[in-house]
């Protein structure tokens, strides 16, 4: 039982420690209430429930900040420039994916590779490599050219959804 207690306390401490600054007061509030709970199982339930509440609250705050910042950027730069940026991002993403598809087609001409590594090459070149490149590009472009980064993010989401649907349909 004492292990459960220790786990409950430590778990919530770790969660609160890693919370963003805006959620910290709520984290400290939930943590402090644990000093007044007697039953070990109530403590465990308090700790897990509190951690879930804090997680959802933090995600909600982050998402709301993200959307507000993005909307602010769009308002500042004007809709025309935003659309140009988005198209620019989508264009870069398209060129990158196109290059990967060309590379994939070229590799398929090597019979040995085709027989042994077909699936690995398929997953690597058509999904993993472009997605990794997209993420890298998004992280680089985000502070300076947000609309272009959103365009690439959109392309990454479309590719991800496509791959998921493709696998579901072929299983």
């Amino acid at each position: 039982m004492s292990r459960a207690l220790q786990f409950a306390s430590r778990f919530l401490h770790v969660v609160v420690k890693h919370l963003p600054a805006e959620s910290q007061p709520w984290g400290r509030a939930i943590l402090r209430e644990m000093d007044f709970i007697q039953s070990p199982w109530s403590l465990l339930s308090w700790s897990i429930g509190g951690a879930c509440a804090l997680f959802v609250y933090s995600v909600r705050l982050q998402l709301s900040t993200f959307f507000q910042e993005t909307l602010g950027d769009i308002k500042r730069s004007g809709p025309k420039q935003t659309i140009v940026g988005l198209l620019w991002g989508l264009g870069i993403a398209g060129i990158l994916l196109g290059s990967c598809v060309l590379g994939y087609s070229a590799l398929l001409h090597i019979p040995r590779l085709q027989q042994r590594w077909d699936r690995v090459i398929d997953a690597g070149l058509i999904f993993l490599l472009p997605e990794a490149a997209y993420l890298l590009a998004i992280s680089q472009l985000w502070p300076r050219r947000r609309s272009a980064a959103i365009g690439i993010l959109l392309a990454a989401a479309i590719l991800f959804t496509h791959v998921v649907f493709h696998h579901v349909a072929h299983i």
């Binding site: 709970i37 509190g50 509440a53 609250y57």
Partner: protein, 102 residues
């Protein structure tokens, strides 16, 4: 702002608890015991109410060397909103025809 607040039965339960002694500050664990709500249900409600400025929060320094304790009570807007909502619910419930009665 308060119009966009989703009013679940649990939120109404929390309102009822606050309305029992409107001026008194309440602790999270005490509200949880009074309402039978777990922390995972109670705190999102408190957070939402605070975001909508219907709930005010304060820190109370209790024992020396121990961190302060968070307290909650409804703001004037919160009290008005809670009373209106609870009155509205009771009114709607009373005007609903009782099925199965002669």
């Amino acid at each position: 702002m308060s119009k966009r607040l989703r009013l679940s039965p649990q939120t109404l339960q929390v309102f009822e608890t606050f309305l029992q002694s409107p001026k008194e500050w309440r602790y999270g664990y005490d509200i949880s015991r009074d309402t039978d709500l777990k922390s995972g249900t109670l705190y999102p409600i408190l957070m939402r109410l605070a975001d909508h400025k219907l709930l005010e929060t304060a820190w109370e320094a209790t024992d020396p060397g121990k961190p302060p304790r968070h307290m909650y009570r409804l703001t004037a807007d919160g009290l008005r909103f809670a009373r209106e909502e609870l009155r509205g619910r009771i009114g709607r419930r009373a005007s609903r025809p009782a099925l199965g009665r002669a």
